[in-house]
Amino acid sequence: MGGYVAVIITGLAIGTIGRLYLLRVDYRQYPSYPQGYMVHLALGFIAAFLGSVAIPAILAKEYTAVTFLALAAQQFREIRDMERESLRNIEVTELVPRGAAYIEDIAKAFESRNYLAMLTSLITSAVVEFFKKPLWGIFAGLAVIFILSFFTKRKRLGDIAVVRPAEIFFDGSILCIENIQFMNVGHPDSRRIFLEQGLGVIIEPKDDNARASLFNIGQRQAIAHDVAALLGVKRDVN
């Protein structure tokens, strides 16, 4: 087993680095707290460990160990449940809720990143084992991280649609954004706030695929949540 130490350690390190690379705190403000960071880093570490021991286990003819890998991979599905649950619990405290679709998407992303850590460490350890060159393994692992994170990158709204500012005005008491009648705002002071501080935006899909995507209410809710997170939100809380 002693000969496999370099293989396992290289795989473990690169896999964990891969998980860390994808664990960024951005405008989505999630996971912003150190505990959330720790949970995912620990799970990423375990995933990387499972990935890196697979090749040595096969070579040592420990086939039961490999079947455990499949069993462990199943356990990572729990991560999706964990994320979904925690996001759903804080949903009631959000001024602009994320919506079920967005939560599902975030939960799925967290699950898939653990598989990425596992795959990265698997490939790294395979390269180190077969070519006996740890440096090659490191480069192969980093390449896998970049390739996979490139392919799992999602499109931005600006890629599929034209987002342009639009005029806000009142037709009587009806708030209008360009030609769309929006809502009835009764009080003159409220109207003034809309006119002074409001920002009207029209999103025009570029093609039919984009139209289908934006047709989804979950997408719209997610857009509303992200916009509110970025620009702030003014609303009554009671």
Partner: protein
């Protein structure tokens, strides 16, 4: 946040139209537009509702 109460319902009517009948929903008659706006704002804040303008001299307070 998780209030229990009625929503999507007219809570009160504020009007400068003296002929507006009171029927089921509380109606507040205001002397002029200024007073109507003041009453409407107060009611909206008290009832956690929103002021909507029917554009016939009548405001309705609705909770969404």
């Amino acid at each position: 946040m998780e209030n229990i109460g009625l929503s999507e319902i007219i809570l009160a009517i504020v009007t400068i139209d003296g002929t507006q009948p009171a029927s089921g929903v509380p109606v507040f008659y205001a002397k002029d537009e200024e007073e109507r706006e003041k009453i409407a704002l107060n009611l909206a804040r008290i009832l956690s509702g929103m002021v909507h303008d029917l554009e016939n001299g009548t405001y309705v307070i609705v909770r969404h």
